[in-house]
């Protein structure tokens, strides 16, 4: 099925009816997913600076409210309205699959995330391939395909090819019939600008590199241990739970945390299991490219290149992959 580009706004109006519609747009000079305000979303150009992760896994998510005093009352906070995420690219879509695997499929189901995920409809769009540091193809993704998305708009020339991958997608598509016409759309030729030598074999070999101190020393030394890479990364899902109380009422919340912070591994007794930045960055790279694979069967890096854009020390995971491949090769 096909959709004319001009009708996009009408579709968005449809999607936005009594639902929160998030589209890529500028918020105070930073491109991120924001509530649709009627204008056409910025689908082309660089990917958003902040990933869509914030919608399903917010920076600070209130979980419970409590009231102490003579007796303690606890009430759960439910905040999961109907939502539509429009304009996601292949890499971000895959990151949502990674998060689903973590929060829903493998082991314990996280009710907060599951609730939000169930209530959100995801409409992915073909990637215009304009990223300077993108390498999703090396991570096994197709810029012009989003198997996990409810609805996928491919191509992006004069027409979009519309395909639904899930029942939720199909039911939604029924509302679009008036704008859809038959015919298919040529495959987009967007390609990544980087092609690091990532491969499943490298993923296994990487853990073998664990004790190669000299390699890790050289690769991690410029790191400044800030949390930028984890907070712009679409797949980083670590969080910390804390509470803020005001007198005898309070709220328990979870908020993003980063394994690069020094107090991330701070144990009660003062011991820190990963005190040096070498250990922390090694852990981050190996988690992204090896450990996650062992448990979830896919890498935790989707090749979106956001961490490369924003790293203050100009570290580059793609370059790391090439170096690792070189070392593992011989």
């Amino acid at each position: 099925m096909r959709l004319k580009k001009e009708d996009l706004n009408k579709i968005l109006a449809l999607l936005a009816k009594n639902r929160e519609l998030f589209v890529p747009g500028q918020v105070r000079g930073i491109k991120q997913f924001k509530l649709w305000d009627g204008e056409t979303p910025e689908l082309d150009g660089e990917n958003t600076v902040l990933p869509p992760k914030d919608i399903l896994f917010p920076k600070t998510e209130k979980m419970y409210a409590y009231k102490t005093g003579t007796e303690t009352e606890i009430s759960e906070i439910v905040d999961a309205p109907e939502r539509v995420i429009f304009g996601i690219r292949a890499c971000d879509m895959h990151s949502i699959e990674c998060m689903d695997s973590v929060f829903i499929r493998e082991g314990y189901e996280d009710s907060f995330y599951a609730r939000r995920r169930a209530k959100s409809l995801i409409v992915a769009v073909a990637c215009p391939g304009a990223g300077v540091n993108c390498f999703c193809e090396s991570m096994g993704l197709d810029p012009d395909a989003a198997p996990g998305a409810d609805i996928f708009l491919s191509g992006g020339g004069e027409f979009y090819g519309v395909t639904a991958n899930t029942e939720k997608g199909e039911t939604e598509l029924k509302k679009w019939t008036q704008y859809l016409t038959d015919g298919d759309v040529p495959k987009g030729e967007a390609h990544c600008s980087l092609a690091p030598a990532m491969s499943p074999e490298l993923s296994e070999k990487l853990t073998g590199l664990f004790d190669d101190d000299e390699f890790w020393q050289e690769v991690t030394e410029p790191c400044l241990q800030c949390g930028t890479c984890s907070f712009v990364c679409p797949t980083c899902y670590c969080f910390d739970i804390n509470q803020s109380s005001v007198g005898d009422e309070g709220v328990a919340f979870r908020c993003w945390d980063s394994c690069m912070f020094s107090d991330y591994n701070q144990n009660a007794g003062g011991h820190n299991t990963r005190p040096t930045k070498k250990q922390r960055l090694r852990n981050r790279y190996l988690h992204k490219l090896a450990y996650f694979n062992e448990r979830h069967g896919m890498e935790l890096c989707v090749g979106c290149g956001r961490c490369i854009n924003k790293c203050p020390a100009h570290l580059d995971i793609a370059e790391f992959i090439d170096k690792a491949a070189e070392v593992c090769h011989d």
């Binding site: 102490t68 005093g69 003579t70 005001v246 007198g247 005898d248 003062g270 005190p275 040096t276």
Partner: protein, 660 residues
């Protein structure tokens, strides 16, 4: 979770009359961590305190909040109460709902609301209190007195008489200071030597006093009860154990230099005693003026003539270190160097324009003129004498706005002495005011005028030479016309200034001076003989210009303070002082800089880091010096140093609790 008890006091009707104490207690009962809340008519009474003891036992309380009057009133009362209960005395907070709530607000509802807020703040703060224990500092019962003028001598005598060891330092070669230079003292006209020399010999002979002349303080470390002081004793070049003080060497010494003691009026030899009644009565060699020691010639006459071989040209300065429990600063004063300040008075080029101290040496029987008043230029008896007061004092333009306090009285004394010793002398005193604030002072001043001293109200503008006379041109403000008084000799009553190098000494003792260099007392009215550094006291003119009666009174007071300190074997330091968490401290010395008492120092420690044990610097607080002001805690970015009793966590909790 804390088990806090809240006790709201009625204070009779003082509090209960102005706000609803029951509602405050009821609200307190619902606060987090509060296990018991009650009110009582008089919490500070015996029954009120018993109520607290019972509640602690019955409810197993571990923190107490008393909502009552100001903590400045009864905080200690309730701390003493807690001493004999399982609760540490510092697990206590007081909410001031009387002076700052009940008494100052008219609207009963608002006052109750505020009292509830204040109790909530106290409960929030007490939840973060930690048990604190006093630290005890040993006291070395040995005192150091710096300066052996009348102030230092009196203080040393009093401390020694109280049975404690004293080391009395004097930078000159003899003790006695300025008082021993004087002829008579007002208002009783006692002969100064008759009342000071006995004290000098008494202090020299006192078994508890170690006298060290030619000595200054090189460095001071440590803190109250434990000052490690290094003293530099200048080389004497005369072995005082062998020397009997026969004086043969002084008569043979060829070198002649002006005598500082006699205010440059006569000369002295290189090997000398400053004045006949000097204590110790044995000479020393001044290396700068001695021909042999200054390398000008081979001389060595004194060594040759000395029958006991007491002369030792190889003598060296000695550095002696000892530990003292208390230090008394009694460094006295200097007269201002008036010549550069007053070109209009001749700037020192007229020999017959002399200072008050030079006059004292002229009129003193053991002085250069054996007591006969002879003017320095031609040694003739001056008939017409002018005394000019406030030279350098009370004059911002000349750099000193303060009054030197003693010159009004000693200028009257000078007038009286002149009229007494020179039959038909004529004395004119130029004055701005005559200040006679002591006992029998006014009567003494009247007698001086009755003796014939002419008091002219006005300042001398210029002194110049005219046909053999020194013309003092001034103004007589009472008659409203200028006046010129010819004089054979002019005595300038110059201002008192602090002793030289006082600022360096104070820096070493970490006490401060005011803008002129007078030592800063802890509190001008309530703690005049103490300084901000615990264990360092002061006496006499080092603190500011004053006369001998006040000086001796202060000396006694300083000695009493020392004896109070020495009456205990150890001092109980307040536990509410700063403490450092060495794990968090990065040794940036922000705290070291802001501490007014230099109580925080950077120490090197061995620290286990990731790559093995390394040496690094951390801050360390000296319990004896820290007074608990908390400036360091506010300056520390990491919160590594914190003030116990007012920690960051406590204050943050208090601030949060207020804003509900």
């Amino acid at each position: 979770m804390s088990r806090t008890g809240v006790f709201v006091c009625h204070c009779g009707s003082n509090i209960a009359g102005a706000l609803d104490v029951e509602r405050v207690a009821e609200a307190a009962g619902k606060l987090p961590g509060v296990r018991y809340a009650a009110t009582y008519k008089y919490m500070c009474s015996e029954q009120g305190q018993q109520l607290v003891r019972d509640a602690i036992a019955e409810h197993g309380l571990d923190r107490i909040v008393i909502a009552s009057c100001s903590p400045r009133m009864h905080e200690n009362t309730f701390r003493k109460l807690l001493k004999d209960t399982p609760v540490n005395p510092y697990m206590l907070e007081i909410a001031n709902i009387r002076e700052q709530c009940a008494w100052v607000h008219t609207d009963r509802e608002q006052a109750t609301e505020k009292a509830i807020d204040l109790v909530r703040m106290a409960v929030a703060k007490v939840s973060k209190n930690k048990p604190l224990h006093s630290s005890f500092i040993p006291v070395h019962k040995k005192a150091l007195v710096i300066g052996a003028g009348i102030a230092g001598i009196q203080a040393a005598l009093d401390i020694a008489d109280a049975g404690y060891e004293v080391t009395l330092l004097e930078k000159e070669s003899s003790i006695g200071g300025h008082m021993v230079m004087l002829d008579k003292t007002f208002p009783t006209l006692d002969c100064s030597a008759c009342i000071s020399t006995p004290k000098m010999s008494e202090v020299a002979a006192h078994p508890n006093v170690t006298l060290m002349t030619g000595s200054t303080v090189e460095s001071v470390g440590g803190y109250v009860g434990n000052f490690d002081v290094t003293i530099r004793q200048k080389a004497k070049y005369v072995n005082h154990d062998l020397c009997t003080g026969c004086g043969l060497c002084e008569t043979k010494c060829p070198a002649k230099v002006t005598s500082e003691f006699n205010q440059q009026l006569c000369t002295r030899t290189a090997i000398f005693r400053p004045f006949p009644q000097a204590v110790p009565a044995k000479p020393v060699i001044d290396p700068d003026s001695c021909r042999k020691l200054s390398g000008k010639a081979r001389c060595g006459v004194c060594q040759a003539v000395c029958p006991l071989g007491a002369i030792d040209f190889e003598d060296k300065d000695k550095l002696i270190t000892d530990t003292y429990g208390a230090i008394v600063v009694a460094t006295g004063y200097e007269l201002v160097d008036w010549a550069p300040l007053y070109p209009e008075y001749g700037g020192g080029k007229y020999p017959d324009v002399i200072t008050g101290l030079q006059y004292e040496r002229l009129v003193n029987a053991s002085g250069p003129t054996e007591g006969k008043i002879l003017r320095p230029s031609d040694k003739s008896v001056p008939k017409e004498i002018v005394i000019v007061k406030c030279v350098g004092s009370r004059d911002k333009k000349k750099g000193r706005a303060y009054c030197s306090r003693a010159c009004c009285m000693y200028s009257a004394k000078h007038a009286h002495q002149i009229l007494d010793k020179i039959p038909d002398a004529c004395v004119t005193v130029f004055y701005m005011d005559v200040r006679t604030p002591g006992k029998n002072y006014e009567e003494f001043y009247d007698r001086a005028r009755e003796d014939g001293a002419r008091y002219v109200r006005g300042r001398v503008a210029k002194i110049f030479r005219e046909n053999g006379k020194l013309i003092c041109r001034g103004e007589d403000t009472l008659l409203g016309r200028s006046v010129e008084v010819p004089a054979d000799m002019v005595i300038l009553e110059t201002a008192m200034t602090p002793a030289p190098e006082i600022r360096e000494l104070c820096a070493r003792l970490s006490i401060s001076t005011d803008e002129y260099g007078w030592v800063q007392e802890a509190h001008p009215k309530l703690r005049p003989v103490e300084t901000q550094t615990a264990g360092v006291y002061l006496a006499g003119t080092c603190q500011g210009p004053k006369d001998i009666p006040d000086t001796v009174a202060q000396a006694g007071a300083a000695a009493a303070k020392v004896c109070i300190l020495f009456s205990k074997n150890e001092i109980e330091g307040s536990p509410m002082i700063s403490a450092v968490d060495e794990n968090k401290c990065c040794g940036c010395s922000a705290c070291v800089r802001v501490c007014p008492y230099r109580a925080v120092t950077l120490e090197e420690i061995d620290s286990r880091e990731i790559n093995g044990t390394v040496k690094r610097h951390v801050a360390r607080v000296n319990a004896g010096l820290c007074q608990g002001c908390g400036a360091c805690a506010a300056a520390c970015r990491t919160g590594a140093i914190d003030l116990l009793g007012f920690t960051n966590a406590q204050i943050l909790k208090e601030v949060d609790a207020l804003c509900l």
